[in-house]
Symmetry: D2
Subunit: 274 residues, 4 copies
Amino acid sequence: MVVVIQCKDQVGLVAAISAVLAGHGLNIVSIRENVDAERGLFFARLVVEGDATPLLSEELRLVLPGGATIHVNPEPLKKVAVLVTKEYHCLGDILLRNHFGTLSATVQCVIGNHAFLGDICHRFSIPFRMVSHEGKEKAAFEAALLSVLEDYDFDYIVLAKFMRILSPAFVERYPHRVINIHHSFLPAFVGASPYRQAFERGVKLIGATAHFVTNDLDEGPIIAQQIIPVNHTFTPIDMVRAGKEIETSVLARALQLVFEDRVFISGNKTIVFE
Amino acid sequence: MVVVIQCKDQVGLVAAISAVLAGHGLNIVSIRENVDAERGLFFARLVVEGDATPLLSEELRLVLPGGATIHVNPEPLKKVAVLVTKEYHCLGDILLRNHFGTLSATVQCVIGNHAFLGDICHRFSIPFRMVSHEGKEKAAFEAALLSVLEDYDFDYIVLAKFMRILSPAFVERYPHRVINIHHSFLPAFVGASPYRQAFERGVKLIGATAHFVTNDLDEGPIIAQQIIPVNHTFTPIDMVRAGKEIETSVLARALQLVFEDRVFISGNKTIVFE
Amino acid sequence: MVVVIQCKDQVGLVAAISAVLAGHGLNIVSIRENVDAERGLFFARLVVEGDATPLLSEELRLVLPGGATIHVNPEPLKKVAVLVTKEYHCLGDILLRNHFGTLSATVQCVIGNHAFLGDICHRFSIPFRMVSHEGKEKAAFEAALLSVLEDYDFDYIVLAKFMRILSPAFVERYPHRVINIHHSFLPAFVGASPYRQAFERGVKLIGATAHFVTNDLDEGPIIAQQIIPVNHTFTPIDMVRAGKEIETSVLARALQLVFEDRVFISGNKTIVFE
Amino acid sequence: MVVVIQCKDQVGLVAAISAVLAGHGLNIVSIRENVDAERGLFFARLVVEGDATPLLSEELRLVLPGGATIHVNPEPLKKVAVLVTKEYHCLGDILLRNHFGTLSATVQCVIGNHAFLGDICHRFSIPFRMVSHEGKEKAAFEAALLSVLEDYDFDYIVLAKFMRILSPAFVERYPHRVINIHHSFLPAFVGASPYRQAFERGVKLIGATAHFVTNDLDEGPIIAQQIIPVNHTFTPIDMVRAGKEIETSVLARALQLVFEDRVFISGNKTIVFE
């Protein structure tokens, strides 16, 4: 059983938490704990042997500072809505894992602003809803998205190569619940055609970053990053292809971490108990 | 300040430990804990804010099962003896880090069964002692080694490409205190000239493994492993060169982990709190 | 356009080949060439600008040693038969890429010795044929396999976690045309339950190897290898899961290399022009 | 023996080059060739069996377009000057490899704008010259640098964590002969204290890039890049330490590639025949 706790830091928290668990006869198999000293925040993930009693959560609350977030035995299968445009690589991987029960989540629906990926969703018997952005202002487009999203129950929204930028008003509705994936370069390339620029500069690596979407100045807390090597024989198209491989892999890893309750957010960064 | 604890597992250990720390007004910045359920062993590494009092270790002992290993504020600079033969790559890296104070250890002496690496030790003002194996039975060679080792005070023996196999009797004197590095292949190659075999088979990776030396049937608990890509353009000599690069890197990483008290041994495996 | 050539080595081959290409007004965009000096074999892959004329292949043959293998503008979409058992991870990835046209091949059929993966094939509109091994001697099982295979036209057989060992007689029918994927460990673990053994030994890496299947003493020429890091928090089940991730990734990479005519076989090793 | 050629592209170059080599009875062991189609440039690196005759270079020139760069059997030991400030990690690695003859180059001198690294140079019997920047305008500082550099004969200047920005006038004197190493981040961090920013953002990777220094708008052609994983337990100081590990490794790799004549520059990118 997993117990995750987030609260203000103070002396004696681990002692207090573990005393409550011991009082319930629960043995701590592993504990990961981290204090963000700058923000005075405490984060812990415990794997314990034994079953939760209904009182455990309340007893933990009594010994923790006010405002603590406590999840005892969180739902192992998170519910997700997936937003896509036309690229299949991340969605296909998610649908496969979902289909075979290895996603640590269940896909409730896929929403696309193009029709193209509807077919693959149907093949996996997953509801696909199209919400076109064409001819709509951003506000109207997002209102249409929200209207469709309201038909489903979900814990997270996964942007699986969704190529529209979401407004602050939209993002605020789902704090720490929207996950995005994008390519990354060393050095960073500003402006259009980053792969073209990467080709021109002869980069030797292409990266991908999975992150929570926030309204902070930059891209939000990073969950996972990884790179794939490229070389001078790669055309811009080859680089795009390599980028898709690493995007698929990094998003899969990030989703696994989030869905297994291994990721906490502190300010603009994550604490990941891998 | 770091506190490391190893003992028999039982319910309530984290509660007991953290209560003692809280009683001393020490705040736990991070805690890494792991239970080897099969062996019933508990391992923890805590980073705490505040200074140790002389009583802390004894108070911890009172709340832990008999036979616990407790290190409060372990010495941040371990003492090491390094054994070498002729290859410079691992020794050179160790001497550089030692010289500039980034090894988390201090090299007390280097012992070589050849004279070749004496010069580089002298350049770094590190004692070099030659103990030739030539014309000696293994028992006599090891007796000579031990005689030289006795001149120094050390926590660990690092085999930095020491090309003699140590006898069980020798290894038993230094339980969990001898660290070795060697190349590794996928698949494994038995017998002579593994690099030649790796070349013949066209392997695409060459690995290195740093491990504690034990008298178990195989190589002892693994501390760190990593690989380096190779390809068909590599001659056997190029593969040896690649192997040296990855050996240097993996040994450096393993030593850092061990010297920072991040590595525990449970049975024939390690628990590494990276 | 791609031109691939394999023949006995002799002085002047590149000159002869490139003279023929120049005579056809073809510009060499890139050339990868390798000589296996021990076997006296020459391998080349050229990317050229311009279109092949029917005579090009014959003119090349005139200037090359007898017995040369010459492919001018090889078919960019190879045909493949996929053999599976119950694990979905490699097959699912292949079916996705096949469906979206990024496999550099077309899947002609999937043959399983269990029924389980039939459903996913049907969802992708790919023929699935079940050939059970139960109650059959190996010879009878393979005869049944061959009988089904004869219904399809294919260049390669991909063993995508096919858990039956194929006999030398079967393998000989498809020289250099059967590709397999399996996990690999450092050190190698012989016998049953390798993941259990890897767990017991606390390995820090799990690898995967894609290779051609031959009747040589060991596993046949290696096409691609890669590793994924693991640590002491991984249960044996987690290690299996990590192994599947890296198997999927390595097989995908190997298939891309083979299907793009980048892989040559020399003795028991490959030459890969990445 | 190695032959490297760079010239304008035209049809038949490989034919022409290989015919000349065949005429000298030289067998091509491996050939790497690449055309930068956008710039119309041809690059080739050939490994041949046999010895060069004095005429080979001239005969090659006769069959190549005007202005070709031809190196037959280039000097295997390049001469280098190393510029440093206070950080030892890259310099130490270079000095070790230089000392043991594995650098593919010989270090002629080390010039520091601080005195700190003089000691390690002296330990390796390498001339160290201090040129302080203090109290000097950039022009005067660079004039002093040039004055010292003129005392030595060198093919390349390696900036091994040299923390002064060189002026365009300085860089122009050594076109494609100045090599730099620096850390890189995903995302990129502009302004002061990039490691502090990386820590605040919780990056999961720290990269390093080795490149030629040019006066182009950005950093010049990239030779090699690689990354090292980090996580939330890394303090900013730990991140700096990880950055130094990867800088050392990437610079070593880049120098090996350049010194072995495997790197060509085309526009603002490199072609690297690994």
